[in-house]
Amino acid sequence: MSGDALFALWIAPARRRSFANMLALALPLILALAVIGWRWGGFVAAILVVPVSLAVALAVARQRMARFDRPWLIRSLDTTRPELEDSSALLFTDEAPASPLQSLQRRRIAARLDQGAPQDLAPAWSSRLLFLSSLFAAGLIAAALLWPRAGEGPPILAPSSEGLPARPGIPRLVGQNLRIIPPAYTGLPVRDSASLDARVPQGSQLEWTLRFNPQASTPKLLMLAGQPLALHPDGANWIASRTADVAFLYRVDPAAGRGATPPLHRVDAIADAPPQVKALTDSLTMVKPGQRSWLPAFAATDDYGVAANARLRVTLAIGEGENVTFSEREIPVSGSGPARDRRFTPRLDFSTFGFAAGGDMVVQLIVRDNRAPNPQEVRGPSLILRWASPKQPESSGLTGMVNTTLPAYFRSQRQIIIDIEKLLKEKRGIAPDRTLARSASIGGDQQILRGRYSQFLGGENEGAPELPTAEAHGDGDGHDHGGPPVAAPNVFGEKEDVLAEFGHPHDESPASSLDPETRAILKQAVDEMWQSERELKTGHPDAALPYAYKALRFIKEVQQATRIFLSRVGPELPPIDASRRMTGKREGLASRQLEITPIEQQDGPAAAAWRALGDGPDAIRGQIDLAPLDGWVRTNATRLPDALALSGAIDVVRQDPGCTACRAKLRALLWAAMERPSGHLARRRPADAAGARYLDRIGGAQ
């Protein structure tokens, strides 16, 4: 066995024992720390404290273990085992013995070494320390568990801050504590307030603990508006409790009205805010090719927490044009993330909803907060997913409406071809002059059709028939040409609108909204019609047929090539004919009086108090009758920005009418609580004699 292996064998029990001993010492302390952490900072703190302290303990134990090294082993063997003759150092080295004497000695004591076991060298358990450490840890744990925390156990009274002079025989508030127990759903801890003013969550339970000196007999909490709250004795203290559903003002009355009036305290009830829902996706999303599902994302925040379960209202609009069907359903969705800021990203498969091309899917998240007993429900913004119809190209950006091309027109050209072919078929059986006459008649039809098209293109047409849509057009038609043009004063140098002056513009040609390419094709069609017409009128229906076919082809091409955009215009109203005005039946028409009632200005008492508190001619320096104002504040509490503060200020002024600062404070609060009358008239003052003379002179010049 080599020296190192022997050393490892002999040192191991000692090291193990030292390590275990150290850990045993540390464990109670770690436990104590964990308990303190849990008490102080909750479960998370405890979880954090344990690994950190454990790591520290391990490091210390390792360091302690490292003390058990080779010199220690040699030293302890030499001191405890005399039979090793102080030569154990020779055993635990790998170096070759320097002299034969050394190697002889080594062999001798190697044989004796095994008379003892390595376990004998292990240090004893430090049981005393272990006991002390356990005791200390137990003490710490007990202290941590028993340590009074805010809101638990009997409250600790803070000195009173009423600022009232002590008067013999009259009880006075000396100690105070206000315990606030928020509703359970808020998750807020119970807390003790040393001040009697507090802002608490709505629905909190308030518990007052007060002490008086000398002992009071029937102390009360006087509410500024409402029933007083009686205090009950609890040992040397007095206690009372109530729920803070609305904000209120109160004062502690220890002596039933004797002595000075104590100051007012205010408890504000902070209402639970409804949750806020924000859409994280765009409000309008288009379906991408190949998309099978949609993941709209919402974030819902609340002051205390959003319920994890929400509902998603899905509205489907499927179909096109007038044939749209709507369906609506609600599906449950669950959110992720912390209670105060939850994310909702439901997955909506198109197949389960039957969502198809040309449809819209509108989703809206409905969340609730965790308020008990009545959760507040809020609807979030709507998100739209649009699946554009493949047949209907984008029409956005066009101001006109889209029409398919004039089917009547091209049907007529087909009719002409049918007529020509019929004529050619029957040609042999009928007389040539008849053929010519029929051909000429078809040529006439062709001319009419050509006329329509050329007019559609904007060309003038000699003696051409009108478009089928346009009836005969003259002075007697439905719309009015306005008679002879009104001779508007023509300013020299101004651009003249000749058309407007001498004619009346019919609307621009409908084909002007065509693109040039289509126009060219239509023109070719008209040219072919012209050729066809010529051949037909000269009695050559067979020669006309190819032109007629060509014309039909061009028209079909136009029909397939594009659509026509007709500009959307309002109805052209005829100008008013003044001579026909008031010529209809006028029974029952007469002058009427239209009643109107002015809005009542409602801050009368406030305005009166405003003047009384001021420094103007209507000011009242002494006692002011504030009862009307107080009543007005109570009835208009919902309209006022801070009715409670106003009530408090009124009470303070009532108690001490001479206090300038209190009056100024009430006046400042009144300013924010007054209506602004809609601007009355500020009358100017008449001019004096000289001014009147002056005005008379310049007025006379008129």
Partner: protein, 597 residues
Amino acid sequence: MTPDIIVALVLTLAVLIGGVRLLLWHRAAGALASPVRTSLLLLLQPIAAGLLYMALFPPDAADGVSSLRIATANTSRLSAAASGSPLILLPEAHAISGGEAVPDLATALRRHPGVTSLTIVGDGLGPRDIDAARGLAVHFDPPPLHPGIRHLAPPPVVAPGARFTVGVTLAGLPNATTELVDPAGRVTDSGTPDKNGHVLLAGTARAAGTTAFTLRVRRDKRLIEQADVPVWVADNARPKLLILAGAPGAEVKTLRRWAIDAGYDVTTQMSAGGGIALGDAPVALDAASLRRFDAAIVDDRSWSGARGVLLAGARGGMGLVLRPGGPIDGATRSQWQALGFSFSGPGGVAPLALPKVDAEAVASTRQGIGSEEVPVDIATTDDYLPDISRLGLTPGGYDAVPLLRDAGGATLGAWRALGAGRVALFTGIDSYGLTLTGRRDLYGDWWSALLDTVARPVPGSRVLTDTGWVGERMTLCGLTGKAQVDGRVRVLPVNGCGGYWPTQAGWHMLRSKDAASAFYVQPADALPTMRAARDRQAMALLSAAEVQQASAALPGQSGTPWIWWLGWLGVSALLWWLERSRLGRHSAPAKTLQSAM
């Protein structure tokens, strides 16, 4: 003939008569008369007469000092130590050794009668001493003003609910910001001064009563100066308003609603054509009925029919507001132009540039609390802009006073005097759009401004906007007879103005038999820079006006006459003794005895 000449003549005559009498007596006495005594008497009589004259009209007592140095407030010891003319210490100056302390400048001038020129050191003379320095050559090198509020112009009487403007001029504070704080302590407007230091700040009034806003001047967030801005809000009797419209419409409906809510007694007449009229009970349009109305709002369509009678009514004192219902025709245009509104612009209808919406915090301080009928409606920058336009003609000319401008600077409203009344032109069209988009306040401001300007004047209380300070004489003007301040102090007017020494800060009422005015007195330590600037200006006026008179001698300060009286008494006593004594009388009794024998 002045008294002193008369006295001199009388005395000379008396001396002459006395001398003649003495000489006659001397001759008659013959040998008895002693020439020594006679000559002594002859000599003493003119001396006594001369002394009597001097006692009655003592000669000027000049001490030879012709200029003084006057130490005023904040005089540095260094500038006072310069040698030269005697140093006078006014009460405001620090105690400086070698100076002569006087209660005021007039006292100093009485003590030094020959003074013709003054050198002022320090901040300058106050109102107490300015008058005393009139007529002297004043040399004053003003030190720079302290940075602060140089001038504060509080609004005159404000109607309940009206918007008002406060003018402020700052001195030496180019980068300062000014804030107007409402009585509730909220900032209701803020602004930075232009290059001349002027700022205009706006606020809104509430119910009638005295109101104190606060003006704060800050530089780099640090408060430099703070001052009270007194606002006097007073209500008036219900004004009577006539609204004439050629056709019913949204504009006239909104105008009627606004005017009724604003406390007007409104009569609306809308013609619906064919002799049918809508609105209130019909009134005859003639001079007698128009005399009952304080103002009339007339549109262009109803204007043409009632032009003559409306103009006559306006000359009689009624306010006339003309408004177009749309583009106006040539005839109306030339008629309105003939009233004095010379038009410029292309005509037709032009877009109206609305002023920017106030920040929400400011807007909420401008509005009061809402009610069920009129909830609070504050426009935000995201709100829909109302479709309001104006006539494409801008009224201008020398006769018309611009009253309203849009954000682009185009004149929206102008007025001019017409006889005893006024006529205004409002070029906005469809202004009712403002009430539908949260700008009700702007709508009210526009129409209030128009009607405030033109409505028939009535006598009543007014506000004197001159600033006074506690402990300082202020001049109250516009008085027609005896008046009282706060019912205690009587003010006796001279040329319509009276002096008053306020002892208390705050509002005071000046009441005379037929009028009442309110005025505000600032605390003694308020607005120091404004006070200094006012004195500075008075000093500058004094120096400029009085230099040419500097050479003119001060009317002589009389010397003390008692020394002359003593001399005259001595000489008279000597004369009396001489007359009575036996000196120079040669045994006259013996001769008498002898002659008797």
